[in-house]
Symmetry: C2
Subunit: 250 residues, 2 copies
């Protein structure tokens, strides 16, 4: 089994390294990841500048390949150009921070797995639901298990798994829930500042608001120390709205 | 009625100007758009650099405001910081090129409308399905009509309209179809080149492949000179796959 590993925090991220250590216990792995942090790039791809690939060594041997692009670029270029064989599975992560609720559409981590899915490869995104003091051990171990499960079962057509793992030790994990994407979103504001030349500039800031109180969503699982696994697809059609818009008789 | 206009081709794009001319016949408009082209940025937002807003004048009066960010940034910052009143509708476009099929998830044009929707404002993306010799007249006129229709009917919860218009004159338009997002995708390759210093670099290139032969998808409408209007939402859950993944008994 061959697994392509990528992420959005950049090739030097400890989360990616934790994933690499565990997944190579069950598969041949190759790392192709952004050279620099690419958080919140969504499904951006690079059209107006060229991409370059650089070998990255670690402890004296080849660790992977850094691309000066987005997570989606990494998956595209790895599969289209320099991997000799198409990987069986794409795994993106381990992301520092949750990718739940509305957050999913901004996520570079998820977009890499979406890109793998578009290219016909079973794919999974893995995130640790903390921004501070991360403990990757259990999330990495679980990723290894899930890679084996995906290889055994396959994934439904055009569907990826979005995995969010609570930042606790294994004995505190309550279990695994298959969830739906929740409605929780960021409550944002812009911090307005003045630069040394008197110009105005703005920083985007904000916090996740736990707005979705339903039991079956991603955020609810995490809140109760369950791992959340959400099957996602990239068909954004709201089929239930077609009839309503048709009734407008445009 | 107040309408916020934005796009991903940048504030100086003729498609945005065509939209501005028609929509201001039916509403008070304000333009807040990227300072430079932002195609294929998906739902990227800017977290690691500050945003700035610059007034843009045209023919001696204020035309709009340019932001050094992505389409989603423009919608966020307009609504959160400097618009005195929340707009009634957000319109993104007119994009040069189709936003149909898998293309939708890479689209900055669509992401601006998605962002408006997340912020609770009825929103619409408008694209002209050509990359060359664009005729914006009918698409702009239709956008004006649709703004009025959205204001009258409202939109279903968390739903935006993704409008694609064939590049023909009004008399050649066969009608309007309410469609679903198709499965057509780009067939891509990387063009490998050598720079003057001997370094290797890659350009992403490719063409849209009309892979979805069903009658009810966006691409099918366009192919028959119909306007395609697809209701989209940002819940990517593949609800039909939840039971299957549950049966894995993880």
């Amino acid at each position: 089994m061959r697994v392509l590993l990528t992420n959005d925090d950049g090739i030097n991220s400890p989360g990616l390294h934790a994933l690499w250590e565990r997944v190579r216990e069950v598969a041949d792995v190759v790392v192709v990841a952004p050279a620099t942090e690419q958080s919140a790039v969504g499904h951006a791809i690079t059209l107006s500048s060229p991409l370059r690939i650089e070998e990255v060594r670690r402890d004296g041997s080849v660790y992977g390949y850094a691309v000066n692009g987005t997570p989606a670029d990494c998956v595209k270029i790895a599969i289209s150009t320099f991997l000799k064989e198409t990987p069986d599975i794409v795994v993106s992560g381990i992301n520092l921070g949750p990718n739940t609720g509305t957050n999913v559409i901004y996520s570079g981590t998820v977009s890499a797995a979406t890109e793998g899915t578009i290219l016909g490869i079973p794919s999974m995104a893995v995130s640790l639901t903390t921004f501070t003091d991360p403990h990757y051990d259990y999330a990495a171990k679980l990723a290894g298990r899930l890679v084996t499960a995906i290889h055994e079962h396959g994934l439904p057509d055009s569907t990826l798994l979005n995995v969010n793992v609570p930042n606790v030790t294994e004995d505190k994990i309550a279990g695994i829930r298959i969830t739906r994407q929740g409605k929780s979103k960021f409550k944002e504001f812009f911090d307005k500042r003045i630069d040394p030349k008197g110009g105005t500039y703005y920083w985007l800031a904000g916090d996740m608001v736990d707005a979705d109180k339903s039991d079956d969503c991603d955020h609810a699982a995490i809140r109760s120390n369950f791992v959340s696994i959400t099957p996602l697809h990239y068909d954004m059609t709201n089929a239930g709205a077609i009839e309503e818009i048709q009734s407008w008789n445009l």
